[in-house]
Symmetry: C2
C-alpha cells in the first residue's frame, strides 16, 4: 500500500496557503487563495479547501491545518495548548474537522499565561516557529512579525512563552484612517533613511503617543516629504516594538534571534534590531517554516 | 458712541462655538454649529458664521476667532506664534479674515520647537490655556485633553512649551476600525473599575503595543466583559499618556496641574493623574477658558 499523501494548510485571517508534500516532506507544490478564515463560516471551509486542492487528494490523504481555521468562529474550534509546548504536544492535541472529501486535522493554537494572569494567544505561529527551529536546541528568541507581531522564547524544541505586539495593525490603521494618512503618500516606495530616523527616535524616546504624531508635524514643517512619511511611521512603530520587547524579553547578548515571516518585513525588523545593537539576527522564510511544522505534526501524529 | 460689541469664536476641526460677550466680558450667549473647519473652504467660513450670528452684529462689531479657521486650509492662514508666547503677543499677531458682514480677526496658533528640531503645534488651545490661567503667575502644567491632547508649561502668563499626544484619535480609531472593536460593546457606559485597571497597567508596564492588544485577550478569556472593554482601553491609553508626559515634563511635586476642557473627559484625566500620585489637580471649564481668552485678545487688540 502506498504511503498516504500529506497536505499542509496555513489558514490565516485574510488568506490561506496549501502545501503538497512529497514523500520526504519537501514542498512539491504551493497553492494560495484569498478566502481568509475571517470571511468564512462552517461548511464553507471544507468547500473552499476541496475546490482549491481536490486534484491533490486520494482515499489515503491526510490534511493538517494550522491558523485561524481552528478559532472559535473558524472551521472547528481547536482549544489552545498551554506553553511550554512542543511539536509532540501540538500533534497530540489536533482536532478533527468535519469534511467528506478528506481526513482533516486542525492544530491547536498556543496560550502563554503571564504572572499577572494575562493571557497571550497565537494561532499558526506556533507551527511556524517550531517548524522553523526544529534543529535549534539552545535558548533563542523568535520574532514572527505581522499584523499582530509575536516575540517568543524557544528552548529544546519547546515554545516557552510569548507576547503579542499590535504593530502591523496599528500601522495600517494610522495610514488608512488617521490624520497622519492625510499628509502622506501611502503608495511611495520604502525610504530607508526615514525608516532609520523613526527607529532611532523610537528607541531613544520610548514615548509612542507623542512620537507617532510627529509624522504629521515633520511633513508640515518640511523635515520629511509626504513620500518619506510612511517609512518614518513604520520605523517609529517597529522601533517602539523592538524597544518594548527587548526590555521585556529574558535575554543575553549571546541569545540568538530568529525572524520568521515575509522576507520584506523581516528585513525591516532586522534593520531595526541592528539599530538597537543586535546584528546577529537570522531570517527564516515564514512559508517554508510553516510547511515544515505542518509536515512534522503530520509525522508525529503518525500519518 | 457705544462700545463695539465683541464676539468670540472657537472654530475646531469638527464644530464651532460662538460667544456673545457683554460689556464686562461675561458670556451673554453661546451658539454652536457642526460646521467644522475640516469641512469648509474659503468663503464658506464667512457664510457659516454670518448665518449663525447675524443678529449679534452691528457696524461696530469685532469678531475674534481662534482654532482651525486659521489653518493652512482654513479661512485665512494665521502663521504660528513661537513659544514662549503670551496674550499680548497673540493679540499682536492676529490676521484679518475676508468678511463683508463684520470685522474678523484670526488668532495665530502656537509653535513649540524642541531641542532636536521637532516642532509641536496647536491651534485654539493657546487661547484656551492662556485664557484659563490669566491670573496664575507660578509655574504650572496645563493639560488640554482631546483628540490630540496637549501638555503645556505655563509661567508668568506665558505659554512656555508644549507637547502633543495622539491619545483621543487613537482611542477612536481602535474602537471603530481595529480587531479590538469587534470584542467590545462600544455603546456601554463608563466602567470605573475597568478604567482604573487599564491606567494601573499602563503606568506599570509602559509597553503600549503589547498592552493595547490585551483589550482583546482579556475579553476572550472572560477577565473583562465586552461592556467593560472600552473603559479598559481608555484607561490604558490615558495611563500611557500620563506616564509618558509626566516622564518628559519638567516638574516638581509642588507644580500645580490644571485640566482645561470637556468636564467629563477632564474627570477621567484627573482620575488617571490621581492613580499616578497627583491629587492636586484643578479642572477648568474649557468653553469658559476659550471664551475668556478670546475676550482678552480682543481687549489687548484695543477693541
Amino acid at each position: 500500500m502506498a504511503k498516504p499523501s500529506i497536505v499542509g494548510v496555513d489558514w490565516g485571517s485574510t488568506n490561506l496557503r496549501a502545501f503538497r508534500f512529497d514523500a520526504e516532506g519537501e514542498i512539491a507544490e504551493v497553492r494560495r487563495a484569498e478566502s481568509g478564515a475571517r470571511t468564512l463560516r462552517g461548511a464553507a471551509f471544507a468547500d473552499v479547501l476541496e475546490t482549491l486542492i481536490s486534484d491533490w487528494i486520494d482515499d489515503q490523504s491526510r490534511i493538517v491545518t494550522c491558523g485561524m481555521a481552528g478559532g472559535r468562529e473558524g472551521w472547528t474550534e481547536a482549544p489552545y495548548a498551554n506553553c511550554p509546548v512542543d511539536m509532540h504536544a501540538l500533534a497530540g492535541s489536533v482536532i478533527r474537522a468535519p469534511a467528506k472529501f478528506a481526513d482533516v486535522w486542525i492544530v491547536p493554537g498556543a496560550k502563554s499565561i503571564r504572572d499577572d494572569g494575562r493571557v497571550e494567544v497565537m494561532r499558526g505561529e506556533e507551527t511556524q516557529i517550531l517548524g522553523g527551529l526544529e534543529n535549534e536546541r539552545a535558548p533563542a528568541i523568535v520574532i514572527a512579525p505581522g499584523t499582530h507581531s509575536k516575540w517568543a522564547r524557544v528552548e529544546n524544541g519547546r515554545l516557552v512563552s510569548f507576547r503579542t505586539y499590535m504593530t502591523g495593525e496599528l500601522f495600517a490603521l494610522l495610514k488608512a484612517h488617521s490624520i497622519l494618512g492625510r499628509t502622506m503618500d501611502v503608495s511611495a516606495p520604502h525610504d530607508a533613511a526615514a525608516f532609520d530616523l523613526g527607529v532611532h527616535r523610537a528607541l531613544e524616546d520610548k514615548g509612542l503617543l507623542n512620537l507617532i504624531f510627529s509624522t504629521r508635524s515633520e511633513v508640515l514643517f518640511e523635515h520629511l516629504s509626504p513620500a518619506a512619511a510612511p517609512s518614518y511611521l513604520s520605523g517609529v512603530l517597529l522601533g517602539a516594538e523592538v524597544g518594548e520587547a527587548l526590555d521585556r524579553t529574558p535575554f543575553t547578548r549571546d541569545t540568538p534571534i530568529f525572524l520568521v515571516g515575509d522576507p520584506g518585513l523581516a528585513g525591516r525588523y532586522a534593520q531595526a534590531l541592528a539599530i538597537a545593537g543586535h546584528n546577529q539576527v537570522q531570517t527564516l522564510d515564514g512559508e517554508r517554516a510553516a510547511a515544515r511544522g505542518l509536515w512534522r505534526i503530520a509525522l508525529e501524529r503518525g500519518a
